[in-house]
């Protein structure tokens, strides 16, 4: 187990190197100009001299490889550089925001996995039955619903019609202190929307996995031995049916991050997503690279976790494969 993790960590080094270089290369090739982005509307009335001076100050005139190498060497020494888009050190930008994104994403993920598991098993129990049909069509409908629209919809319903939950923000608008109770209440809608947008995959996979497992010999045998339906379903079918889902858990991380981006926008959630968009459109190399590294690490850890869980859930799967 430790060997698997160690090997993956070692492997992550060149991956991160290549990914950051890719980000620098793509950003450099993009039509966006960091100086224009930095200047914003002020740039529309700035003279060429001011713009040239900005370009020199921001180091935007250096070649791509130099910029990447400078960033990489100082990042390795712990200095992530300064964000030009947000006018503060990258480390500060990330420290301010990443916690809220992690909270949102993990709450949503948890809900999606649990709810998806329950609904999937219910649907798989009697394929073609009305529960199955209801759950499956719900899953397809949700799959087709854009998270942005879903966000507006729940905001309209819960905040406007019922008035039971806040419409956005991290705390009550106007409050300067962040309390756990407030955050929890403000977390409900965005986390639910994010969870709903992730839900279809889990539901459909669990339904398929458990459904297939129910057809397998060991389950049929268990049934034949007269074991209770509950034991058969949860003890036998779910256990082998969960395996593909575990892989899915790992591979869903990237989509969770992009989903969070939309949800954070709708609910004014002060997470990392808005900063990511800002970093990308203003060709803010240091911030963009740091965020990409973070996202890449999240994906790698997600995959590692999936593999570890796989091994734990089914001892026949080794850790050295």
């Amino acid at each position: 187990m430790a060997r698997l993790a160690g090997r993956r960590a070692l492997f992550a080094v060149p991956v991160l190197g290549i990914v950051t270089f890719g980000v620098f290369a793509i950003a450099a090739a993009s039509p966006f100009d960091p100086v224009k982005a930095y200047a914003g509307t002020a740039g529309l009335s700035a003279s060429q001299e001011t713009l040239d001076q900005l370009r020199a100050n921001l180091g935007a005139d250096e070649p791509l490889v130099t910029r990447w190498w400078n960033w990489l060497t100082s990042a390795v020494q712990g200095d992530l550089g300064d964000s030009s888009a947000l006018r503060q050190p990258v480390a500060d930008v990330i420290a301010e925001r990443v916690g809220w994104s992690v909270l949102l994403a993990s709450a949503a993920f948890l809900v999606a996995v649990l709810l998806g598991g329950v609904l999937g098993v219910l649907a798989a129990r009697r394929p073609g039955g009305w529960t199955d049909r209801a759950v499956t069509s719900l899953a397809y409908t949700l799959e087709a619903a854009p998270p942005f629209w879903l966000g507006l919809l729940v905001m309209w319903f819960f905040a406007l019609k019922l008035g039971v939950l806040p419409a956005g923000g991290l705390t009550d608008t106007g409050s300067t202190v962040v309390t756990a109770g407030q955050v929890a209440r403000h977390l409900v809608l965005p986390a639910s929307v994010l969870a709903l947008s992730q839900l279809p995959w889990f539901v459909l996979y669990v339904r398929q996995g458990v459904g297939d497992a129910l057809q397998e010999d060991p389950v049929r045998g268990a049934r034949a031995r007269g074991l209770a339906e509950r034991t058969v379903l949860l003890g036998h079918a779910l256990r082998s049916g969960m395996l593909p889902v575990l892989t899915l858990v790992g591979s869903r991380v990237p989509e969770l991050i992009t989903g969070a981006l939309l949800v954070e926008t709708v609910f004014s959630w002060p997470g990392i997503a808005a900063a990511t968009v800002e970093a990308a459109t203003s060709v803010d190399f240091p911030l963009l690279a740091a965020l990409t590294v973070l996202a890449t690490i999240a994906v790698l850890v997600g995959n590692l976790l999936a593999d570890l869980l796989y091994g734990l859930a089914d001892p026949r799967v080794g850790f050295d494969g």
Binding site: E96, L114, G181
Partner: protein
């Protein structure tokens, strides 16, 4: 770890999730905003990158956290703020002397002195400072402190509207001086002399201001002023409706839905124009007859009614028709028939496809707008359809500024701008021939010697009558040879809860600052 313990963890996680949901549902309505009228929460669409005046925050004055030497009243007249009085100007118009208000303290308790003023201006002008608006202070030759409470500016050339530039917020040297001006913590933890101090800035979510108890202008009644940052228009409207916000800026179609529902709608007049550049480098748009024909062929009234839903005014030039700087008699009447006559007389004859041709040149040119800007897109399409009616083809195209910029010498652009403080701020960079193509200045490469002279007179003379005459000349020249087709001036709409009473708005520039809208004077609200 075995499968059993995983199941155990699952149970624990379920319990934790349920607990979260339960606690979340238990206290609806608790801590609702509103109620006491000592606080206000408004929704804004724009978030500043920094709150440091050294990097451009609040450069047009009225930044709430900071004060400038001068500030504007409701009618945009200059009045003293950190200065004790309006500046003394030397006879040659090149020396401005400010006596400073005594006893002013920054909100951290440190006294405000002339050194802070010198520090602020010198830091902005420093070439290592990444302030994209520093060009606005080009006229400054030097700034120095005479004792603790006098500051003297010397200018490179006589510059009549200079006092307007000194609304720029003053930063404390003792805090902002010791750190990297471009990325230091002062940009997120600003301290100023203004009516409010920053209580909390949660990026992407909200900016909370608290009344500055030591404010020299008296303690504001609204003790807490929160600006929720909500970029999406629909979300802002929804949160306003849910009672989460007391006010918000909204586009016209969404603002309409709030009429007569316990909220008041304020339409702030603005200098914010939309115009079409007619570059001299293009054989069609560079032709004076075509420019003049287009100028009277566009139905500006229809644009105001259709595109702006009435929230705006027709624009006959950079100066709005209700401004004191507007020149009577330069209104263009919508007259496509006369436009056709002008083109006929100039030799632009209709070709086979209805598009006019002269000397083998088709009366056709591209018009660019910034992609994603619905308002500009609508203006561009309306312009093209009006032009079509007189036999001029306008091909509307969308792109980012990066795509548009290299094409500006030859292609038309749907541009916006406007600055109410002084006609010089807008018109000089827009129309001076020697600034043609300098960055985004004079995008249309307009070249008119009479206008050049008038613009120079306008900025150098301090006699109001002479200045008025200069800008009259500019506007009349723009009738004879319009380098731009000015279309509309846009109102900015705000919806605010009734309980704050009757509020006012200032005439607003093209940019939306934090302190635009009815909350421009939130420190004076008396609900």
């Amino acid at each position: 770890m075995r499968a059993r313990s995983i199941r155990g963890m699952g149970t624990l996680a379920t319990a934790a999730a349920l607990a979260t949901v339960a606690s979340a549902c238990s206290a609806p309505g608790e801590g609702e905003s509103g109620g006491a009228a000592t606080s206000a929460v408004v929704g804004i669409a724009y978030e500043p990158e920094t709150l440091s005046p050294l990097l451009g925050f609040g450069k047009d004055g009225n930044s709430k956290i900071f004060d400038g030497l001068l500030t504007h009243d409701a009618d945009l007249k200059l009045k003293p703020a950190l200065a004790a009085a309006l500046p003394r100007v030397s006879d040659d118009g090149r020396t401005y002397t400010y006596a400073l208000r005594k006893g002013v303290k920054f909100s951290d308790g440190e006294p405000f002195t002339a050194d802070d003023v010198v520090f602020t201006y010198e830091t902005i002008l420093d070439e290592k400072t990444n302030n994209p608006s520093k060009g606005e202070l080009d006229a400054i030759e030097s700034v120095e402190a005479k004792g603790a409470d006098t500051v003297v500016f010397r200018l490179k050339y006589p510059y009549a509207p200079f006092a307007e530039r000194t609304v720029l917020p003053i930063a404390p040297e003792h805090l902002a001086g010791g750190q990297d001006v471009n990325t230091g913590s002062f940009g997120t933890k600003p301290v100023g002399t203004g009516p409010y101090r920053l209580a909390k800035w949660s990026k992407g979510e909200q900016l909370v201001l608290e009344a500055n108890s030591g404010y020299w202008g008296g303690l504001p009644k609204i003790e807490r002023f929160t600006m929720a940052i909500i970029k999406d228009d629909d979300v802002r409207a929804t949160r306003l409706r849910s009672g989460d916000l007391d006010g918000a800026i909204l586009p016209p179609n969404l603002a309409k839905a709030f009429q007569g529902s316990g909220q008041k709608t304020y339409a702030a007049k603005s200098f914010d124009y939309r115009t079409v550049t007619l570059p001299t480098g293009n054989k069609v748009t560079g032709n004076t007859a075509v420019r003049r024909a287009l100028d009277i062929a566009v139905d500006r009234k229809a644009m105001v009614d259709g595109i702006l839903e009435g929230a705006g005014k027709v624009a006959h030039g950079p100066v709005p028709t209700d401004s004191e700087w507007f020149t009577e008699g330069t209104e263009r009447t919508y007259d496509p028939k006369k436009a056709r006559t002008i083109l006929d007389a100039a030799g632009w004859k209709p070709g086979k496809d209805g598009i006019r041709v002269k000397d083998g040149v088709r009366a056709s040119f591209p018009l660019w707008y910034v992609s994603g800007d619905k308002l500009r897109q609508d203006h561009a399409l309306a312009y093209a359809s009006d032009a079509k009616k007189i036999g001029v083809e306008v091909e509307v195209q969308a792109g980012t500024w990066e795509v548009i910029e290299p094409r500006m010498p030859k292609d038309a652009v749907l541009a916006g701008g406007g600055s109410p403080a002084d006609p010089d701020f807008d018109q000089y960079p827009l129309l001076r021939s020697d600034l043609a193509g300098d960055g985004f200045n004079n995008m249309g490469r307009y070249d008119n010697a009479t206008v050049d002279r008038a613009l120079k007179n306008g900025r150098e003379s301090d006699d109001p009558a002479q200045r008025k005459a200069a800008y009259d000349t500019v506007q009349r020249e723009l009738v004879k040879n319009p380098g731009y087709t000015f279309l509309t001036h846009i109102d900015h709409l705000y919806v605010v809860d009734d309980r704050f009473g009757e509020l006012s708005t200032q005439v607003e520039p093209h940019d939306h600052g934090l302190a635009a809208g009815p909350w421009w004077n939130v420190e004076d609200w008396r609900p």
